[in-house]
């Protein structure tokens, strides 16, 4: 009788552990998928900006032919983005492109005719829209990485993560002041 009780308790505990492993494993896979999805959302926006750059250069060139070095920098930065692999490198190339794009807009400030052109205004609105979306997509990506990294490092999911080799993911870092997350409590 006593033996049966022990066997039953053992089986119960085993079932509990198995169910826990399944749930933890599925939740980790779900979180990892969310990161990949978030990453592809960033990529979509980056691609849009990438496609917008030649248009922008052509438009600015029409009014400001002499600013050769600015155009060259943008073109170079744009090419670098295409060559970048991995999260950290891509983030760095992206930041460089953002900076050179800012410089092109700063140059435009000196050409009133350019600023007044409808085409330029439209490109500017489109660019700021895309930059905003990049920022939001990055935010969602980083939130997802944060949630995933927290799970694989905290007890008890870290055991499952260790066994099945869930590696921590990299954040998409930006240079300069990032908007701080607000503290929310209930």
């Amino acid at each position: 009788m006593a033996f049966e009780m022990v066997a039953l308790a053992f089986l119960g505990a085993l079932a509990f552990v198995v169910v826990f492993f399944l749930l933890a494993y599925n939740s980790l896979v779900g979180k990892r998928m969310q990161i990949d999805n978030a990453w592809s959302q960033i990529d979509v926006q980056l691609k849009k900006r990438y496609d917008l750059v030649p248009n922008l250069i052509e438009t600015v060139k029409g009014y400001a032919k002499h600013e050769k070095s600015v155009f060259e920098n943008v073109t170079k930065a744009r090419a670098a983005v295409m060559g970048a692999a991995g999260v950290a490198e891509k983030a760095k190339a992206e930041n460089a492109l953002s900076k050179t794009l800012k410089s092109i807009l700063a140059v435009a400030e000196n050409y009133p005719q350019l600023r007044a052109s409808e085409n330029f205004k439209m490109l500017q609105e489109e660019l700021s829209g895309i930059e905003n979306k990049i920022a939001y997509a990055r935010q969602f990506y980083n939130d997802s990485v944060m949630s995933y990294n927290t799970s694989i490092q905290t007890v008890p999911t870290n055991i499952v993560a260790g066994i099945f080799g869930f590696a921590p993911r990299e954040f998409f870092k930006t240079e300069g002041a990032e908007r701080e997350n607000v503290k929310v409590s209930f």
């Binding site: 959302q41 920022a135 935010q139 969602f140 997350n181 607000v182 409590s185």
Partner: protein, 295 residues
């Protein structure tokens, strides 16, 4: 991370509650139909069949058509292409931040600033903004309001609210349409015989039941979810002040929307009808602003 956990908790809760709601509505509709056919036809087999079939149809139609029913009740039209490019940008950006598919954008032609979100799932949702909101808010404020609505979509508040409004508020909606047609239709026409009498009886029943139904909708939807959507919205924009100042502006301008009714009121961003605060579907604006500013 606290709010992150809350997102998923409240989404799970809303999912469960909306299934419970559908089940409850099915059972009540079935009981009513069964009783009705037992009394009028004295036939329990017919009642059983009628009850099951009609209740199932009612719940299914309410589920699949709920979004379009609510949108047309509120007088919303789909935003035309290129009509509000910055609004599209704002909504697309915040959907990216929340990790939900971009909802469809609707416009309500009304000078009062207000907004609402409907949809039975995150990938089939819509957000509606009044023209008054678009013309009176700055971009940061508009982002705050849009983030609040997208939070409702993400944590499935909008699903629960849409279903509650259509399924339970159905009676209130009917009485509203009835009252409206009474005002417009006037007194003309003659009363017909027994059929007219039965019709009038049903009409009277609906009008008597309507306030209870509207109250039930309110009970089903807690006011707490507005605070939660404010908080998660602020977490999406990382800028609580935008939403806080939008709320202040809306409080000053007044959020009373013409096409809103007792039944659809709980959906809106700020209370679209006037009434007692005690019975209100929305927490007071000052309290919401205070909580946002203390984040």
């Amino acid at each position: 991370m606290v709010a992150m956990a809350n997102f998923f908790d409240s989404a799970a809760e809303n999912r469960r509650n909306s299934y419970l709601l559908m089940l409850a509505v099915f059972i009540i509709a079935f009981a009513a139909l069964y009783g009705f056919s037992l009394i009028f036809f004295g036939n329990s087999v017919l009642g059983l069949a009628l009850g099951i079939v009609l209740s199932a149809i009612y719940v299914a139609v309410a589920y699949y058509a709920s979004s379009s029913i609510v949108l047309s009740l509120c007088g919303a039209r789909e935003a035309g292409k290129g009509e509000f490019p910055y609004l599209v940008n704002v909504v697309e950006g915040l959907s990216l931040a929340a990790g939900v598919p971009t909802p469809k954008i609707y416009i309500v032609d009304d000078p009062a600033p207000n907004a609402f979100a409907v949809g039975t799932s995150a990938d089939k949702s819509s957000v509606a903004f009044t023209t008054g909101l678009l013309s009176s808010l700055s971009r940061a404020e508009l982002e705050g309001v849009a983030a609040h609505e997208i939070s409702h979509i993400k944590n499935l508040d909008s699903r629960m609210a849409t279903l509650a409004v259509v399924m339970v508020g159905f009676v209130a909606i009917l009485s509203e349409i009835g009252l409206r047609s009474m005002f417009w239709g006037g007194r003309g026409g003659s009363t017909r015989g027994r059929g007219g009498g039965l019709f009038a009886l049903v009409g009277l029943l609906i009008i008597v039941l309507a306030p209870f139904a509207a109250q039930l909708v309110r009970l089903a939807l807690s006011r707490q979810r507005e605070y939660l959507a404010d908080a998660t919205g602020a977490q999406l924009t990382r800028y609580p002040e935008g939403l806080a100042s939008a709320l202040e502006k809306i409080g000053k301008l007044g959020s009373k929307v013409q096409r809103a009714s007792d039944a659809t009121a709980p959906l809106y961003f700020a209370s679209p009808i006037s009434g007692l605060q005690l019975l209100s579907t929305h927490p007071p604006i000052e309290e919401r602003v205070k909580r946002l500013r203390s984040m």
